[in-house]
Symmetry: C2
Subunit: 436 residues, 2 copies
């Protein structure tokens, strides 16, 4: 088993997944998130903690599922607004040397040519520290914002994603590594024979030409994918260098990891090349009691409607239309099975819909790891050893405080146990995340 | 007459418009342009010189007009590669406090929703220093790269640009300035009644929703437009805060400025609100002789085929197909009239096609201002007073050296003459470029 890998699961927005954290007395997101200094401070903390990467999720448009409206999304700032994540990467990169960056870009709305150019540009500007979280988008309001009358059906989104990735790969590979000559004496910049135009005519995209970017340090960015459906898992197993997924327990993690690795094998890949990261919500205190008090305080802060708004948005089902005192597990809604697996039973108790929503507000479907630094390290070690993955994407509460605590209190314990790196092994994200 | 405004006309690429400058002994572009430090150094120089903005042009794909191939474009690095310009803005902004940024984005290939989000995000990250150079794209290879079988016809590109801008304006205006409450006590982030979703169904775009970005310092970015055709001039006069155009002489500048101002008036605008910047190529030396020697050396460096590649790309006509010893003015090619006006006669001499191409290599259609610091200041003052514009977009030769020289030698003279600011008047680009 290799070392543990750690990312910070963030957004360039008013909250980082947990509603109302902008109002937490220790949160700086609500005040500074749109300014570069905030991102530089945060990046320095994560690099001090030897994190693999800052993982920037994205939500393109406000959820409008709860009460068929964006009202509560806007009112409570439930993952709204979210500014463009890509643009803070060069800023955070300037404050660091080894920390990587995962940036989310959907394959449902843009052309591969410009996206591949942006990512290659970022690979230069970060000196080889860029990764791409490839998503296909699931929120109806994102499709409406982008001019679609209807959402692209699920499996078709993945077909489109595959073609999108194929075009990007061909573009990134369109320059031979030694194409650039910079022969000043003869005035020759590059050897045209070593820069091959691609000519793609597919079902969803057409593209002609070479990449308009010099070969970048990593050549291709690290590819992250999620994928929970059958179709999504296959795409992830086929294309991803790393997978980020949310699974509620060590057992579910293990089942997911085994499944993805066997799929990777079917695609002719070495299953160990697939680095699987699981989402975990960490709440650490100096003592167990302090951590539990912190958790209670955070859960009490979250307005119930904000939690319902978030859950409705994630599931695509309007929870204002049901009796919240009913068991969550009895809900019979298309596509809800994954969430029922998470919230149907928890801590050996059948949760009501209302209880499930409250927990979703803080966990987003991930395990919530609460305790003293030693206890948190114990639980992470357990999830790491039993879950079959390669590490964790650590969700945020208040930022940057929650990462400062994690880096100061938990990272040294993981390092002492030999689970986590003390120094970066390489300079690029590819080297640090994938080579170990 | 207000003060003179100055921008630096740049690209995030291997050259800044003049071919082969990457090979000039004083050029750093060819070596460092893909790295953040280069952009920070350059931004500091421009801010020291009190420039309004770094103006980042863009070329999305290599020219393929000359010999119907990209071969010479690639070989000589003729505006190829060009990396994404938007991504260096946050980097350069971090090194400066008042310098503005003009970033080029075409309205022919993307959706207004994501573009308006990016620009608003940049307005936050730069603290109100972002401008958008709105272009419609003219190079066939850009359309091929982006999946179009054929170019969108000229006037239709402008129809699309108008609709694109309308949607962006409505999105930027979708939050009332006091919509954000951040009421921590009651957990209320924003007043939903003050964030209005737009519902646009147009000929080219559909878009529903509010802007997913908090109101930014400038609200709307500064809008730059070029526009030389009838249709293009109308769009510029209607929408632009500032116009960047290339005109070969004071007389042509004056005619252009008068025309644009009278069009602006027809659209119900105060014509003085339109800030018109003209492209100028400056070559300054400590003495007239030194400057002329420098100019000769630069022109001799440019491979003839590179100049022909650039001219062919700009005009959309393959100059490998004509006798280069013929007069340029006798060329009868659709859409070439603007260029014939520039290169047909120069310095009272009828230029051959070959001579015109060589001059295009260094001037790109702009006046070339060569001389000692006093002489350059004299010529700029002349073009400023007689040309009827509000300032200049200074083209580059070797970078950052040519701007260092300009800032050190020419700017103090312009300041002493009372033509150019000694200190920035405001903090935002809008304040500095438009309020004076």
């Amino acid at each position: 088993m290799g070392k543990m890998h750690l990312c910070a699961f963030l957004q360039h927005g008013i909250i980082n997944h947990v509603p109302l954290m902008w109002a937490h007395p220790r949160d700086k997101v609500g005040y500074d998130f749109a300014k570069p200094q905030y991102w530089q401070d945060l990046a320095r903390i994560l690099e001090r903690g030897r994190f693999d990467a800052m993982f920037l999720a994205d939500v393109l448009a406000p959820y409008g599922v709860y009460k068929d409206s964006i009202e509560t999304t806007v009112k409570y700032g439930v993952q709204f607004p979210v500014h463009d994540p890509m643009l803070v990467v060069p800023v955070a990169a300037l404050a660091t040397e080894k920390l990587g960056f995962g940036v989310t870009i959907s394959t449902s709305f843009e052309q591969p040519y410009l996206v591949s150019r942006r990512l290659a540009t970022l690979d230069h500007l970060t000196n080889g520290r860029i990764g791409w979280n490839v998503v296909t988008s699931y929120s109806p309001n994102e499709f409406k914002a982008m001019g679609h009358r209807e959402m692209i059906p699920h499996d078709e989104r993945y077909d489109k994603a595959e073609e999108f990735l194929d075009v990007c790969f061909r573009l990134w590979d369109s320059w031979e590594p030694d194409a650039v000559l910079k022969d000043r004496e003869n005035g020759i910049f590059a050897d045209p024979a070593k820069i091959r135009s691609i000519h793609h005519e597919g079902k969803y995209f057409r593209c002609s030409g070479p990449l308009p970017v010099m070969p970048s340090p990593q050549g291709r960015p690290v590819i992250w994918q999620a994928g929970s459906s059958e179709r999504g898992r296959d795409v992830a197993a086929k294309y991803a260098d790393s997978i980020f997924t949310i699974q509620p327990s060590a057992r579910a993690m293990k089942a997911y990891a085994d499944d993805l690795r066997s799929r990777a094998k079917r695609f002719g890949r070495n299953p160990d090349d697939l680095k699987i990261l699981f989402g975990v919500q960490v709440i650490v205190g100096e003592t167990e009691e302090a951590a539990k008090a912190k958790q209670r305080a955070i859960m009490e802060m979250i307005p119930f409607e904000a939690a319902l708004t978030l859950l409705s948005g994630h599931i695509g089902f309007d929870f204002s239309r049901v009796d919240l005192s009913q068991p969550f597990a009895h809900l019979d809604v298309n596509g809800i099975q994954n969430y029922v697996n998470v919230y149907g039973n928890m801590q050996d108790k059948t949760l009501t819909i209302g209880e499930a929503a409250r927990i979703h507000g803080i966990s987003g479907g991930s395990p919530v790891v609460v305790g003293s630094p030693e206890q948190v390290a114990d639980q992470l070690e357990y999830l790491f050893r039993e879950g079959g993955g390669n590490g964790f994407n650590i969700r945020a509460t208040y930022v940057p405080g929650c990462y400062e605590e994690f880096v100061e209190w938990v990272v040294p314990i993981l390092q002492k146990r030999g689970l986590f790196r003390k120094e970066y092994g390489g300079n690029t994200l590819r080297e640090n995340l994938l080579d170990d």
